[in-house]
């Protein structure tokens, strides 16, 4: 063989490789759900409740049904085949026979008791935006017009809006069987709580508060926000009646979960459903949930025997896609005067909206789990109550429970520092879990894998030039300006997680195939929708096989292609999915080495995969090309003994534990004394997500997380009126931050690998939202310290701040 000049391929793990996804996304060449068009496809539109709470007295669909182009209109009762249905679901003789009773109530993914929740409300509506009927029509415009032609009469019921009144059953009870609107009446966690029996022993926590030299107490609200993925939800469902097979495309974060749940609800076997998440334009948690519209689309395709499409519009997204956060905390911190914390109490009230969705009930439990933050706290007591209100249901939103814990605790740390006249960095330092103590089990039962919090603190103080920053603040204040500096530390739980922590299973799956020509196709059960795993995963395989990244395709998001999977949430793709991919890759590499060894009459242990070649260490010129070995594996003449032909392997990775990334954020913020307008002047973030595959992508994830965390602190808020009407139903009233609202983000990193996976990678998708929110509010409180303010509830609306500055009381 003549040795050709072979390019030397750079090692890609750790390199700033540009996202391979971006060119197609930026140039409009990606395929989203709405780009999918099937012959004969019908379009769905939902009639939604415009009252927050009411009993449906009458629905008249006749005018809508009479409109040209309308194929069918179904009410909740129709579709659920409940008494009072006007349209038999078996109209075409296929549906009712197969699934008997019609669409059942939607399943949830948590073990807690839950009221029946139908995809289309059959009798009572419980939030503005809840579906009451669905139209199937020949085009989207007709479908939308027909929605307006449906007449619904409600007997209006009192709207339950304030969660603390709701807990007393005021003004009414939303769900039968859930007295005082308590979805979860009382869940304790922490010191003295026996998780097995639920028995509570107060002695340790009481002692901590009895011995305290200082106690900080504050009620805080981590308010409700809307996830606002750039692409709203959407679904296309195609029931192939001949094959009795359903294909469902959805803007989802987890097609495999969608497949299982749609099969269960429709009474199909999992072998009869293929779920595809094509390009998905962001999720931030809101596309984990399996929504009623998905079940309805699947059912209607089956009933009508035509493909159907539903695309959510932005107005619907604001009211019918889950919201995030919405937690009240009564925080108490017991400490000594030297700043050492003796005990923490968090009494949490979660306003979960009208129904339990997939993970709704579990999200606030993560707030309890993370109540210890980065601190060695000897006694912690959390108590959680979850409350139904007449609002859109809540569920996972970027950070999901952990930002809430971080916010409450980090606000508390600042209040403690202020009370004691200590530097906020110093109070934190005095309470940090020391690095020798890892793995560290918190009082709430989390087992932190690894950490070096002092190092991250030192790094961020250095990055921000803390002393100079404080001096600058004081100088500006001397000019009469209202300037504050805020610091917040965070730790989060991600890389979800062992199967014991997820009802779906906590593993991830991958497969790697080296094709006959030496090109590599890999699949991952992670379902990236903006995270960039097509790039990071390809980087890993490029290094593993010593081939150019251009020779690798990462496939995902299609249960017909990706055999198994869980999905993308809880910052798990790299830590869990990445590890599964490496495991599958290593299996293939091992087998390929056997083929190469046979071909070259070499010892497989001596082989090196590099620069598109496989060769005996030290003698690259006598090697074989990667493609040549691949070809041999598929036409193995002779077949080496003990080997099967081919190069294709799969792997499941079950992590032994979650990962716990951490970091520290600092910002400087100014408030206009005359108008109350806040403006961020500087922002510094040090994040530690363990080993990094691609710093560019990690920084991008941090940027996005910061934007959403700062967004919550400063701008974003879902507001309901006293009648349960949504007052922030469009971007004209729901303030999303814009690029011009941010200063340059100064980022740095420390690297503390995790022992729970071989990559040492922890996860970074959500981290940015944790530290930034309290850092900003801490800075605002600092800026307004001259007015004696201890705490400000988010968001930092100008009028709110103006009222503090000008002593105007509450609006």
């Amino acid at each position: 063989m003549t040795t050709m000049e072979r390019p030397v391929l750079p090692k890609l793990i750790g390199a700033r490789v540009k996202r391979r996804e971006d060119p197609r996304l930026i140039r409009g060449r990606a395929t989203y759900v709405d780009d999918i068009k099937l012959p004969g496809m019908l379009h769905l539109a939902f009639k939604r409740s415009d009252v927050a709470h009411g009993r449906i007295k009458r629905i008249d669909t006749s005018a809508a049904e009479a409109m040209p182009g309308v194929v069918a209109v179904f009410t909740g009762k129709d579709l659920m085949a409940l008494p009072g249905a006007t349209r038999p679901v078996g109209a075409r003789g296929t549906y009712a026979a197969k699934i008997g009773a019609g669409l059942p109530p939607m399943p949830i993914g948590t073990p807690f008791p839950s009221p029946d929740h139908y995809a289309i409300a059959p009798e009572v509506v419980r939030y503005v935006g809840e579906p009451v009927a669905v139209v199937a029509a020949e085009d989207r415009y007709v479908a939308r017009d027909a929605v307006d032609a449906i007449v619904v009469e409600y007997e209006e019921l009192p709207a339950v809006v304030d969660p603390e009144l709701a807990m007393q059953g005021q003004p009414t009870v939303i769900h039968e069987g859930f007295p005082n609107n308590l979805a979860l009446p009382y869940v304790p966690m922490g010191t003295g709580v026996d998780p097995a029996t639920g028995q509570v022993d107060n002695s340790a926590i009481d002692r901590a508060f009895a011995e305290a030299e200082v106690v900080i107490s504050q009620r805080m609200v981590n308010h409700r926000v809307a996830p606002n993925a750039m692409e709203p939800r959407g679904v296309v469902a195609h029931w192939d009646a001949g094959k009795e097979f359903l294909t469902i495309w959805s803007a989802t974060q987890n097609p495999h979960i969608l497949k299982s749940m749609v099969a269960a609800v429709l009474g199909l076997g999992e072998h009869q459903v293929r779920a595809i998440a094509p390009e998905v334009g962001g999720g931030f948690g809101c596309k984990i949930n399996i929504y009623g519209e998905e079940y309805v689309a699947a059912a209607l395709s089956r009933i009508l025997e035509r493909p159907v499409k539903w695309i959510e519009d932005r107005s619907e997204a604001f009211m019918a896609t889950i919201h995030g956060r919405d937690l009240i905390c009564y925080l108490d911190i017991a400490a000594r005067r030297d700043g050492r914390i003796l005990g923490v109490k968090m009494k949490l009230i979660a306003d979960i909206g009208a129904y339990n969705m997939l993970l709704t009930a579990a999200i606030p439990t993560l707030t309890m789990l993370m109540a210890s933050g980065t601190y060695d706290i000897p006694a912690i007591r959390c108590e959680l109550t979850e409350v139904f209100t007449n609002k859109t249901p809540t569920d996972a939103y970027r950070g999901a429970g952990r930002p809430e814990a971080t916010y409450f605790l980090e606000r508390g740390m600042d209040m403690l520092a202020r009370e004691l006249g200590l530097d906020p960095a110093e109070v934190r330092r005095r309470n940090f879990i020391p690095k020798e103590k890892f793995p560290y089990t918190t009082q709430t039962g989390a087992v932190y894998d690894s950490g070096d919090y002092e190092k991250a603190l030192d790094r961020v103080l250095q990055l921000a030039k803390w002393d100079e920053l404080i001096a600058e603040r004081d100088r500006l204040r001397a000019e009469g300006r209202l300037v504050g500096v805020g610091l917040a530390f965070y730790v989060e739980v991600c890389g979800l997680g062992p199967s014991s922590s997820l009802p779906t299973g906590g593993w991830e799956h991958a497969s790697v195939t080296v094709e006959r020509d030496g090109r590599i196709r890999a699949t991952t059960g992670a379902s990236p929708h903006g995270q960039g795993n097509e790039t990071t995963f390809a980087q890993m395989l490029a290094d593993l096989f010593g081939v150019p990244i251009e020779h690798i395709t990462i496939e995902h998001g299609d249960t017909g292609v990706v055999r198994q999977g869980i999905g993308t949430f809880g910052s798990r793709s790299q830590a869990v999915g990445g590890t599964a991919l490496m495991m599958a890759g290593e299996k293939v590499r091992k087998k390929m080495a056997k083929f190469a060894a046979a071909l070259m009459d070499a010892n497989e242990e001596d082989l090196v995969f590099e620069n598109g070649m496989i060769y005996v260490k030290g003698s690259p010129s006598t090697g074989k090309s990667f493609a040549e070995v691949a070809r041999y594996a598929y036409v193995p003449v002779p077949l080496p003994p003990g080997l099967e032909p081919g190069l294709s392997e799969e792997a499941f990775f079950e992590p032994p534990n979650n990962t716990y990334p951490f970091g520290a954020h600092i910002c400087m913020l100014e408030i206009d004394r005359e108008t109350g307008e806040p403006r961020l002047l500087k922002f510094f973030a040090v994040d530690d997500c363990g080993n990094v595959i691609n710093p560019l992508i990690v920084e991008g994830q941090v940027h996005g997380g910061l934007a959403q965390g700062i967004g919550q602190a400063m701008f974003e808020e879902v507001v309901y009126g006293p009648d349960g009407q949504l007052l922030t139903g469009s971007f004209m009233d729901y303030a999303l931050p814009r690029a011009t609202d941010f200063p340059w983000f100064e980022l740095d990193r420390t690297v503390t690998p995790t022992p729970v996976n071989p990559l040492g990678a922890k996860g970074v998708g959500e981290a940015g939202t944790l530290g930034s929110t309290p850092a900003v509010v801490n800075a605002a409180v600092d800026a307004l310290s001259e007015f004696g303010v201890k705490h400000i509830d988010m968001p930092l609306r100008p009028e709110k701040l103006w009222r503090i500055i000008h002593g105007r009381g509450q609006a």
């Binding site: 539109a45 989207r140 415009y141 939308r144 017009d145 307006d148 519009d313 932005r314 107005s315 005359e674 108008t675 307008e677 701008f715 507001v719 007052l727 922030t728 469009s730 971007f731 004209m732 009233d733 729901y734 303030a735 999303l736 814009r738 609306r797 100008p798 009028e799 103006w802 009222r803 000008h806 105007r808 609006a811």
Partner: protein, 284 residues
């Protein structure tokens, strides 16, 4: 966000647009930049049967100086106003106010004529036009008509314009000592309060003063009590402060919403009046 069904026609001239309006029997709407009208249609708050696109009528576009007056065609975009060399030289306040509208997309599509005709209570340009004493030039079936901006804006989304009239242009004299100061609503970037102050300063004395506010109330309007405290006096900080301190006291219907209560808006009218006056005076 699906509007109801509508037809679309592109008008080649102002007269054709007027004719189409007349023929439609009140069912048509003119379409300029579409950045107020299309959102309303998508929300189904407006359901016109016909859109008459006036965006390509040559006569309606552009910024000119003629006979000592500046003339701006109705379909001139906010971006064109913001970047106009002529305006920066002769009436910089118009450029500056246009640059504060929305975001780049909005400024590249939205037009001055659309903004004035629509008369959103929180729009910026109405206050500017009132303060700089612009004339609004309208053409209808019976020919041309001119309305001073001050009386053009009448109430919430209500202007002195017939359903078959086209707003063709605005005209005003060059104005130097004028400035616009705005408190942005953080979601939409419209004005919570916007104040435009236009002064004539001669030999160190304020000869005339027109101050107009938007965002605070139903429509853009003058603040006469502020103006009174300025005319004939020297533009000192004390005079400005005194004048600004009564700003808004004459306003009756002051808006209140989730972004700003009436109390806050009233306070902001004073703050932004002072800021507008300070900037108007400071212009060298």
């Amino acid at each position: 966000m699906i509007p109801t069904k509508f037809a679309y026609r592109r008008a080649a001239s102002i007269d054709e647009a007027i004719r189409l309006l007349q023929e439609s029997g009140g069912e048509a709407k003119l379409l300029a930049g579409g950045h107020s009208l299309i959102p309303l249609m998508k929300l189904r708050l407006s359901e016109p049967a016909l859109l008459i696109d006036i965006g390509r009528i040559p006569d309606l576009r552009g910024i000119r100086e003629r006979d000592g007056l500046i003339e701006i065609g109705a379909t001139t975009t906010h971006h064109e106003l913001a970047t106009s060399e002529l305006l920066r030289r002769l009436a910089p306040v118009v450029s500056e106010a246009a640059a504060e509208i929305g975001d780049p997309q909005v400024r590249h599509r939205g037009t001055i004529g659309g903004s004035l005709a629509h008369a959103d209570p929180a729009a910026d340009l109405p206050a500017v036009m009132v303060a700089i004493d612009a004339e609004i030039h309208l053409k209808g079936p019976n020919g041309w008509r001119t309305v001073p901006a001050e009386s053009f804006f009448q109430d919430l989304f209500t202007v002195d314009m017939q359903p078959d009239e086209v707003l063709a242009a605005v005209k005003f004299r060059p104005v130097w000592h004028a400035a616009y100061a705005k408190l942005h609503q953080r979601a939409s970037h419209y004005a919570i309060v916007g104040v435009c102050a236009a002064l004539a300063i001669e030999n160190g004395t304020i000869r005339s003063a027109r101050v107009a506010v938007t965002g605070a109330s139903t429509h853009a309007q003058r603040l006469p009590n502020v103006e009174e405290r300025l005319v004939g006096r020297q533009p000192t900080q004390a005079v400005i402060d005194e004048a600004a301190s009564v700003a808004g006291d004459t306003l009756e219907d002051v808006n209140s919403d989730i972004h700003a209560s009436e109390e806050y808006r009233r306070a902001m009218v004073k703050v932004f009046t002072r800021r507008a006056l300070e900037r108007a005076v400071a212009r060298a």
